[in-house]
Symmetry: C2
Subunit: 297 residues, 2 copies
């Protein structure tokens, strides 16, 4: 590794600079043990909260530029798009990421879907039906706040479906995501990883703040009793649906500032990887300019 | 008006302070003469471009707070919502307003619809069908980039429908907007008012900038030949559909910074007028707190 020191040599750190966080947070292959992944770490970031908040704000301009390039690409016939999937336990900060990280994007070119308890119409279809209908159009950044993964998480924890149906769903998710990627969609699946202690603190904070009490439901504490089951269900889902086409990223989420920066940074790196160029005009620029000039004659 | 000078007296300027821009930009009743409304004015704002950009950024916190209050209200059963309708000639800055002003809102609680040329399915229905389907849900801020007004603008200018059908549509729009307001929706209709000279400058700027050439279509210059017809069509639409329930606001839009600030400020004033309070919890806070506390016993 100690080659000649020439400034013309390709920078061996180029990959690690442009895609550093993608590489750092990408789930390792093999058995998933969430308990071994620290929830309060800040991998890939060297700085404190104030620095993290500045770093997030500083991503705004590049994100807006990349987003507009993808939008422009579709405007002229391109089909590329991005889908960000946000999953995590209650209070892990899916809504916070949408507000602070996704909020850096322009509403033009953004399609957010927050999946709630399925409606009767949705329940009458396969679990992927409502997901399909929420996909972003060409050139758009789609964001799922919860997703098709709920159907292998809640359903597993509460035994709403049997093991065979769960197996079918893992396979269906893998196939569906692969087809999406083959069509030109970049799929960025982020698991916001918090500790049980952090969830407890955040639930207490909601109870203690009159501006936040509306976010709390007594059912949140009921669900919390299934914490370990949920962690196991997440481990299985992440392991079964972690593919080269659509890998999972585990985002330590005990620190809100890191979590928000990390998702924005992952999105920037994903868009960078698409090498988006401004489309060339499909008309004669000089001719159109002349038409406008002639108005003054 | 020269009453006793006591600090306890209600401030006669309170209305004009909290709703100053609403009052300043609201279309006057009676015949509409757009040529008499300056496109480069900055009514209700005392400052230059830099001050306007700062004022816009400064609205972010209040907008986010008011938006979340409305969202919380719906989360606990409320039905109030806001619909912002953006209309204006090509290059008037509908997209810019979405990016810079609407972009201050959280994507949570925002529903943006950009109306394009109607699809075959949409054409098979009445013109309000697709509009109805794009309405924001309770607690949401809906934004229409173009709207049902296109059906009395383009259609009038190009003679796509006859006078009787246009008359039917003005009436239908008035009735539809009144019903919406009666249901608890605040409708904020903004006409972004630019001059023909400004449009020409902006079209030239698109042609001259490789990053913007994708936004230009030769058809934009064709449509420009109908400038006066469009101004007349706008004047009639504004006049016919200017109601107490859903008034029109004319936003001078030759200066981008003023236009962006003005729409954000109109939205803040509209949300202020809803007197949104954080909803009271529908559970016993102390009891739920105790449940979480018991975890440590």
């Amino acid at each position: 590794m100690s080659g000649p020191d020439t400034t013309d040599a390709p920078d061996p750190d180029e990959r690690s600079t442009a895609y550093a966080l993608t590489d750092a947070l990408r789930l390792a292959p093999g058995p998933v043990r969430l308990a071994d992944v620290p929830t309060d770490a800040t991998p890939g970031f060297d700085g404190d909260k104030a620095a993290g908040q500045r770093a997030l704000a500083d991503l705004g301009a590049e994100l807006a530029d990349l987003q507009e390039r993808m939008y422009a690409d579709a405007y002229t016939g391109g089909t590329r798009r991005v889908l960000v999937v946000l999953q995590g336990m209650d209070t892990s900060g899916k809504g916070g990421v949408v507000e602070k990280a996704i909020g850096l994007l322009s509403p033009n070119g953004l399609r957010l879907t927050s999946f709630k308890k399925p409606t009767d119409e949705e329940l009458a279809h396969d679990f992927l039906w409502r997901i399909d209908r929420a996909l972003p159009g060409p050139g758009m950044v789609g964001v799922f706040d919860r997703s098709h993964y709920e159907d292998v998480l809640v359903h597993r924890v509460h035994g709403l479906v049997d093991e065979a149906e769960l197996e079918r769903r893992y396979d269906a998710i893998v196939d569906w995501e692969k087809a999406l990627v083959a069509e030109g969609t970049v799929v960025l699946k982020c698991f916001l990883h918090v500790s049980a202690a952090t969830q407890r603190e955040r639930l207490l904070a909601r109870l203690d703040d009159p501006d936040k009490q509306w976010k709390f439901k007594p059912g949140d504490i009921d669900e919390r009793q299934h914490w370990d089951d949920y962690q196991r269900a997440y481990a299985v889902a992440l392991e079964r649906c972690h593919t080269d086409a659509a890998p999972w990223y585990v985002v330590p989420a005990d620190r809100k500032w890191f979590r928000n920066w990390a998702v924005a940074q992952l999105l920037v790196e994903a868009l960078r990887g698409m090498a988006l160029e401004w489309p060339a005009p499909d008309y004669d620029v000089a001719e159109q300019r002349a038409r406008l000039e002639r108005e003054h004659e």
